[in-house]
């Protein structure tokens, strides 16, 4: 059987997700064994436009980036969005909630006009995306799971239940009990509640579940002392593209 050809690309991002792929260590050798990697700028020289699966990290923040993404979409049979920036727009979206000119000027001063930008957006706002691998950064085990599913011809099972499920399985104490607040009840699981287990709380980096009860979540956050602005800010950190954050 001919090996599937795989390519990696990135747009506005920290490349932390491709790093997770590299962080597979020994398993990375098995991954590259199973497929042919034709493009992976962060790790190899050379490039080809002949690929089946494209893993794309980052969000689109410039109109001029759209053409490159559309080209990738055209070449790829399967397009996988890699990480929060690609699946949700990620933290990049925060600038969308400020006045655009002001944002540019704040960083680049009087030369702001030199720097092209437009409201940040997830890949799916520009091209159809087949699979989302959520997370900031992605969970490398989930990457492997998706990778294997693709090779097996299966649609990967990305959870549609909230982080609380995995949080309970990990036997963490709910952070609401610790006097903090958490986006776990409306955030898509798959991370193993990694932030809660490490002493933090869920920031929402995997985006919302399909049918979140945002109203109830707002009430809960308010009950635990969060003001309206804080609540909105919480949703906007990663889910700025969903209507919940508007």
């Amino acid at each position: 059987m001919e090996k599937a050809k795989v390519a990696f690309f990135d747009f506005a991002s920290c490349e932390g997700d491709q790093l997770q792929v590299i962080n597979l260590e020994e398993d990375l050798l098995k991954v590259v064994e199973a497929v042919e990697i034709v493009s992976f700028r962060e790790a190899m020289k050379g490039h080809s436009d002949d690929y089946d699966i494209a893993f794309v990290e980052g969000s689109v923040t410039r109109r001029s980036d759209e053409a490159r993404l559309k080209e990738i979409r055209k070449n790829a049979k399967v397009l996988v969005a890699l990480g929060a920036c690609a699946t949700l727009g990620g933290v990049n979206l925060l600038k969308n909630f400020q006045e655009a000119e002001n944002v540019r000027k704040f960083v680049y001063g009087d030369k702001a006009f030199q720097y092209e930008t437009y409201p940040a957006r997830p890949l799916k706002a520009v091209v159809p995306v087949d699979i989302d691998i959520h997370g900031c950064p992605i969970n490398r085990h989930e990457f492997v799971m998706v990778f294997k599913s693709l090779l097996l011809g299966k649609k990967p099972e990305i959870p549609n239940y909230p982080v609380c499920v995995e949080c309970k399985m990990a036997e963490s104490i709910c952070v609401f009990e610790m006097g903090m607040t958490c986006l776990g009840p409306v955030t898509r699981a798959g991370c193993g509640a990694c932030c809660v287990t490490e002493g933090s709380y869920c920031w929402g980096c995997r985006g919302l579940v399909d049918n979140p009860n945002a109203d109830s979540q707002r009430e809960v956050l308010a009950k635990y002392g969060l003001g309206l602005r804080d609540i909105l800010n919480k949703f906007r950190l990663y889910s700025g593209f969903s209507e919940v954050a508007q």
Partner: protein, 350 residues
């Protein structure tokens, strides 16, 4: 076997001995939350870690018999596919289970033994020795007394009660008897101590009465029979986050999902099962997209019916809630509390 006494000063000896001969699991403090200490079941590595005066653990001990995730079998694909069974049998002693959790385990035993017995659950169960302990504190949301789970007379290998100066121990099985004989320093209880136990236990039952049902537990199925169209379901369910917490923390919830995980070589793998919850939105969705419990209300209501009626008539002849109050404590919108729901239904019906 008559009731035995373990002096408090000899407890560490017993625990240390158990640690030396078994994998010993017990209750530990996981640190302070704003509501008090949080307790959990974990491996005991020194006698000092074992905590016996807890009020309630965050998660019940069900993970020892039905782990959050476990392999049903391993397999190999290819021209001659093969399956290899993995049947667990690691011997385990769990030290410190409250009566309500013991009762929950007895219920699970019946569920997994009914019909086609589940070998995984049962093998784990058989390899485990349960040491119960009567509560000395009641968690704020517990209501086990009204679920007839303040005191149990079976379902344990050993059952201990804290009498202040010492522990009085009842033996519930041959295994328990051997455990005491081999690893503990005991003496027979005096009749005074036996009487003390009786009064201590009735005290426990009283402590647990602080909150509870306003009516006898056995009426729950009938109450539900008349409450199908109660507006309460919808009223509460609009706040439901579909987070499944109430399922996952419950000692009598056991639904699971099954899936295959392949290794990267794509020829070997395992079939796994992991906890699932009927409150999760896709629990009853089928491949064609139909969701047989697509609304929050239907899922929310289902849980109460399953606890209060379906399993009652099906397998248990009892309500599948032991009153630990975990669901009540951890449901963020605070709508999952069975005692509140049942009492309100009763009120509305009257």
């Amino acid at each position: 076997m008559a009731l035995q006494i373990i002096e408090k000063s000899d407890l560490a000896f017993f625990v240390q001995n158990l640690m030396d001969h078994f994998q010993l699991e017990g209750v530990q403090s996981k640190g302070q939350s704003v509501y008090g200490q949080a307790f959990f079941y974990g491996t005991i590595r020194s006698p000092a870690e074992l905590c016996l005066d807890f009020d309630c653990t965050v998660m019940p001990p069900k993970k020892y018999f039905l782990p959050p995730q476990e392999a049903l079998f391993r397999f190999q694909t290819g021209p001659s596919p093969a399956c290899f069974e993995c049947r667990p049998n690691k011997p385990l002693v769990i030290f410190g289970i409250h009566p309500y959790d013991l009762k929950a385990i007895s219920q699970m035993d019946r569920v997994f033994a009914a019909g086609t017995p589940d070998p995984h659950y049962l093998a784990r169960r058989e390899a485990t020795i349960l040491i119960g302990i009567d509560p000395t504190h009641v968690a704020p949301r517990s209501f086990w007394a009204s679920m007839e789970a303040a005191v149990v007379s079976s379902g344990f290998d050993l059952m201990m009660t804290d009498l202040g100066a010492n522990y009085i121990v009842e033996t519930g099985s041959e295994k328990g008897k051997a455990l005491l004989g081999d690893y503990a320093k005991v003496r027979p209880a005096t009749s005074d101590e036996v009487r003390q136990r009786v009064s201590q236990r009735s005290h426990i039952a009283d402590m647990g009465q602080k909150r509870g049902l306003t009516f006898p537990k056995r009426e729950i199925p009938i109450l539900l029979q008349h409450s199908l169209t109660s507006p309460l379901w919808e009223e509460n369910a609009t706040k439901c986050l579909s987070c499944g917490t109430c399922n996952l923390v419950c000692p009598t919830c056991y639904c699971f999902d099954v899936w295959d995980d392949m290794e990267l070589n794509l020829t070997q793998g395992q079939r796994l099962r992991r906890w699932d919850g009927c409150l999760l939105s896709d629990f009853a969705r089928v491949a064609t997209g139909e969701n047989f419990r697509g609304t929050r209300t239907s899922r929310y209501r289902h849980r109460f019916y399953r606890k209060g009626q379906y399993l009652f008539f099906g397998i248990l002849d009892d309500v599948a809630c032991v009153g630990c109050g975990r669901c009540a404590a951890f449901c963020l919108p605070d709508i999952a509390d069975p005692v509140e729901v049942f009492n309100r239904l009763k009120e509305k019906l009257n």
